[in-house]
């Protein structure tokens, strides 16, 4: 029998419920407020008292209100029709909601029950299958979408029948499986999964061994993100976290992008709604929206659903990964999720950890990041989830709990630097502090050698070295004065500036400069390293600055020009002329 309860306490969105039967941690319940059911999640149980976080405003709620427990955790609905949707943090379809303003207690269907999908069977009668096995395929937009044995199925099953090719709705039975005890079970194209549990329907999760191209030079060239890898972008407000994520979401080489807007500005999501249906996917020529799903819980939407939103995003990512796809999951900002946890923990009067965040914050964050990864599915195919999150450190101070916990969990660190942002050196990723642990992986090094060039890894190390030495030179110049240091120091500084201006800085709003494929990155890297290796003739330090300024100016023009176009080559020639004039012989 289902458990019921009555409200006995209300503190903002923390509602205490006295239950008349068993309840489980993270169970979902509905609280009745004047005929409207408000969804809530159990986050603590003390005796017969269930502490619940309500995913809605509790305004007007009274003691004694009826509560129904649902017997399951917070779940998402998985099936064809997720692609290109705009969901809230609980996977309600925002487009299906009525009116301009959100109404509490309005929950809409995640999948369109009326839509018909052209199904092609893949499994054969008599075949042994298990959770995640591919039974058939429908085409979702342009993408082959696998219909799988539900992830909740344990053990092995025998396919009794699979429907013939034809049009079906998500709730139609498309296969019958027989379990080990001989019982027949019907399978539809739709299944549910609790968001806080990882989907583990794969054979093996090796270390990432490939690079995911993002088109952002300072990432790809200096600190690449691996396919199936994890990274995070901490930075003070206004330094470019969101612009960077949007750039990556537009250009990254992935089959599917899930953008989780977690507790940030509504207008930033509106930008995606507005622009993605118009913008072309540089790789396929389709519209960007056709490979994107948005999960959006903006800062004015209920706080508890903010936490849910990142899990909803991750679970959908795991679902598509199980189809053998390359998924990129973005979350902006994971700090808002941590703050949502903090708000609840404070309301429950738990013993606080550093900065009043819950004690188990590091564990929560690392469990979440651990769900990303490259996998070999049980059928030998591969799939991946690459995860890139932003962190919004309080006061821009990276020594705060969310940044520190995330640093332990993520393998790439892209630190945004306020000074760089102030002087409009975008993207403001600090080239010295940032890192990609993947560059140290032998398998990644092998991959880069094979796919870019034999010397690439050494080139990258050299470029980082030049940047570091340039910084040191600039510090020396600042301490000793322009004429207090050898001319060499000026040259060293400006050679680093060339890398900064040509490789690191990238105009996210220029139609050409915003995305640079690897081939072009490799070419430009070759150019700047050639300059580094060239010995120049300068009589005084005063000749150094104008020379490099002019070179940088030409390179910038090149970055704005179509790769290898006439214009591009023209600037290249001018650069070579300038270099030859100054070359030491």
């Amino acid at each position: 029998m289902a458990t019921n309860g009555k409200v006995t306490g209300i503190i903002a969105n923390l509602v205490i419920v006295e239950a008349d039967g068993p309840v489980s941690q993270n169970e979902i319940c509905f609280i009745n407020l004047k005929g409207v059911d408000l969804m809530a999640e159990v986050i603590k149980v003390l005796g017969v008292k269930a502490y619940t976080q309500v995913f809605e405003s509790t305004r007007g709620l009274k003691i004694g209100a009826d509560v129904k427990f649902m017997g399951h955790m917070l779940e998402v609905t998985l099936g064809p029709g997720i692609l290109s949707r705009n969901y809230d943090g609980l996977q309600n379809d925002l487009d299906k909601m009525e009116g301009v303003f959100l109404k509490r207690g309005e929950y809409t269907e995640s999948l369109n029950p009326e839509a018909e999908w052209e199904f092609t069977p893949m499994a054969k009668t008599g075949e042994k299958v298990e959770a995640g096995s591919w039974l058939g395929e429908v085409i979702e937009g342009w993408m082959p979408h696998k219909i799988m044995v539900p992830f909740k199925f344990e053990g092995t099953y025998t396919v009794k029948s699979v429907n013939a090719k034809g049009k079906y709705k998500t709730k139609d039975v498309i296969a019958v499986l027989t379990d080990e005890k001989g019982k027949d079970i019907e399978v539809t194209m739709m299944q549910k999964w609790p968001v806080k549990m990882p989907i583990k329907a794969y054979k093996e999760k090796p270390r990432p061994f490939k690079i995911m191209e993002t088109g952002v030079r300072t990432m790809d060239t200096l600190n690449p993100l691996a396919e199936g890898g994890t990274g995070f972008v901490p930075g003070p407000f206004g330094c470019g976290k969101t612009v960077l994520q949007h750039a990556v979401s537009q250009q990254a080489e992935a089959d599917m992008i899930i953008v989780t807007a977690c507790g940030e500005r509504a207008n930033e999501v509106v930008e995606i709604f507005t622009e993605f249906p118009e913008l072309d996917d540089p790789r396929t020529g389709r519209k960007l929206m056709e490979r994107t799903t948005i999960i959006c819980n903006t800062s004015n939407m209920p706080v508890a659903a903010r936490e849910a939103s990142v899990y909803t995003g991750m679970t959908i990512a795991e679902y598509y990964r199980s189809m053998g796809l390359k998924v990129l999951l973005l979350a902006d900002s994971t700090s808002r999720w941590a703050q949502a946890l903090r708000e609840m923990s404070n309301r429950m009067e738990e013993l606080p950890g550093p900065d009043a965040f819950p004690m188990d914050l590091p564990a929560i964050i690392s469990n979440f990041y651990a769900r990303a990864g490259f996998v070999y599915l049980n059928n030998g195919e591969t799939g991946s989830i690459t995860f890139l999150g932003t962190v919004s450190p309080a006061g821009g101070n990276l020594k705060e709990p969310v940044t520190e916990s995330t640093k332990k969990a993520a393998r790439c660190f892209y630190a945004l630097n306020q000074d760089r942002a102030d002087s409009k050196r975008y993207p403001a990723i600090d080239p010295i502090d940032s890192y990609s642990k993947y560059l140290e992986y032998p398998e990644i090094q092998e991959y880069l050698k094979n796919s870019i060039s034999e010397t690439w890894v050494d080139d990258v190390t050299l470029a980082k070295d030049i940047l570091l030495r340039g910084k040191e030179a600039s510090e020396q110049i600042n301490i000793l004065g322009d004429d207090g240091v050898p001319i060499d120091y000026h040259e060293r500084y400006w050679k680093a500036e060339v890398i900064d201006f040509v490789i690191l800085q990238q105009d996210a709003f220029d139609s050409i400069d915003k995305s640079t494929p690897f081939e072009r990155q490799k070419f430009m890297m070759g150019q700047v390293l050639d300059i580094y290796r060239t010995k120049f003739n300068f009589a005084t330090f005063e000749e150094v600055n104008p020379f490099f300024k002019a070179i940088i100016n030409l390179f910038k023009q090149m970055n704005y020009a179509e790769f290898k176009s006439e214009k591009f080559n023209g600037y290249l020639n001018q650069i070579n002329e300038k270099i030859n004039e100054r070359k030491a012989v």
Binding site: G9, P236, G263, A266, E271, R342, A394, D482
Partner: protein
């Protein structure tokens, strides 16, 4: 607010703190309002029979046998066109001697706009101030605060921006406003002949601080009426949000919540976001633009209030006195308008983004040269030129007393580039340099 005869009156208060009182009561709704000896209060916590009320005007003199009446609703305001030209206190009661306003009664702090029902902001708001229009262009539907130390003339600049913005309605939410500033706003709007477009909700330093908590919701619920139902362009001015946040911390401290950074409540981000996210562009043409003031202490933007604000708003306008020219400028480094890229170079001239960035980069170079000078080093020729440029740039473009159109700002930019630099020192696209570099 009236009470009606059948309402139950409670007279046994069990606990009183500086901002709250508790009593035993039944059938009370969360966030419901009540009168405690005639003072407005709101339910902030219910535990079994025990109800905790936050009393907006403070608990001074409240006895344990105070009369408590619950009103069965959240705080409301009556909205109608009659609001125009009127001045109210934080409760929405008139303070201008006029009659009470009649209209549709709506709860303040209502639901959020469904993000998919928003329209992307796209209408530029010209202010004539180059520190804003050139470097930090504003757009309708935007939310942006001035970050300024208390001695900066932020209210003056805000009033100027408001009057130049060509809004259908200007709604002023004053929180902890000094009486002088209140009269300043009243005068300047009156002199501009704009009083009939202005609606004010005022909490002055003479009023109890916790009352302020009602002001933004009053102002924004009114704004929603005009923007959503009347399709008007509404500009909401909120000053000073730092004092609003201080009031939040007073209440949360009284409720024994664990404070987070700078003694602010852990929910500060959500609390501020609920206010600022009311800024919106509706598809039917109405919009709510929020310009706020967040006062800083000693220019510190890492304090929890400006810090959380910056993470929520679509940029910030940082006012600072430039001692080189003896004027207040909109600091190009810390200021930002996140929505500017929706309009610059699109609704303004194509050279706008690059002129803006080049000038700021040169200003940054000048800052480096200044450091060099302060450290006692000789300046090279380029350093010297950046310093001269910076002074001209500050005087002719960044100062808040500038009032010119955007084309003139861009022309001024090019003129200053040409006076101090050569073409290759700018890093601007060739085609733009060819087109706009002054010919003589």
């Amino acid at each position: 607010m009236e009470t009606s005869a059948f309402q139950k009156i409670y007279t046994k208060i069990t606990q009183i703190t500086k901002a709250t009182c508790s009593l035993n009561a039944q059938g009370v709704g969360y966030e419901e309002i009540a009168l405690v000896n005639g003072r407005l209060a709101q339910v902030v916590k219910i535990q079994g029979d025990s109800v905790t009320l936050q009393i907006f005007s403070g608990t001074e003199g409240i006895p344990t046998n105070a009369e408590v009446v619950f009103l069965g609703k959240a705080p409301t305001i009556k909205v109608s066109d009659e609001l125009a030209g009127r001045f109210f206190n934080a409760y929405g009661d008139p303070i201008d001697g006029g009659p009470a306003v009649d209209g549709k009664e709506v709860e303040i702090g209502g639901p959020s706009v469904n993000p998919v029902r928003r329209k992307q902001p796209s209408e530029l708001i010209p202010t004539g101030i180059a520190g804003i229009d050139l470097n930090n262009t504003l757009v309708t539907g935007q939310k942006i605060p001035f970050f300024a130390d208390p001695d900066q003339p932020f209210n003056q600049v805000m009033a100027m921006v408001a009057l130049r913005a060509k809004a259908d309605k200007i709604i002023l939410g004053g929180m902890g406003l000094s009486n002088d500033d209140y009269l300043f706003f009243k005068n300047i709007f009156d002199n501009a002949g704009a009083l009939d477009r202005i609606i004010s909700f005022i909490n002055t330093t003479e009023n109890p601080p916790v009352e302020r908590l009602l002001v933004p919701d009053m102002a924004l619920t009114t704004a929603e009426y005009f923007a959503h139902e009347k399709h008007e362009k509404v500009l909401v001015l909120l000053t000073d949000m730092t004092l609003y946040a201080d009031a939040l911390s007073i209440v949360s401290n009284r409720m024994d919540q664990i404070p987070s950074k700078d003694s602010m409540p852990g929910s500060l981000y959500s609390d501020l976001a609920k206010i600022y996210e009311k800024a919106v562009q509706f598809p039917e043409g109405g919009s709510i633009t929020i310009i706020a003031v967040t006062t800083l202490s000693g220019g510190d933007i890492t304090h929890a209030i400006p810090d959380n604000t910056g993470y929520i708003t679509e940029g910030q306008l940082f006012l600072r006195r430039d001692t080189d020219i003896g004027k207040v400028i909109v600091d190009p480094f810390r200021s930002l308008s996140r929505l500017k890229q929706l309009v610059i170079g699109k609704q303004t001239r194509k050279d706008h983004p690059q002129v803006m960035n080049a000038a700021i980069r040169l200003f940054a170079d000048a800052a480096n040269a200044k450091t060099k000078l302060e450290n006692g080093f000789d300046l090279n020729d380029y350093d010297e030129r950046t310093l001269k440029f910076a002074k001209d740039y500050s005087r002719e473009l960044l100062a808040i007393d500038i009032n010119i159109d955007i084309d003139s700002m861009l022309d001024t930019g090019w003129r200053l580039f040409a006076e101090h630099f050569n073409k290759t020192e700018l890093g601007i696209k060739d085609e733009l340099v060819e087109k706009y570099w002054p010919k003589n």
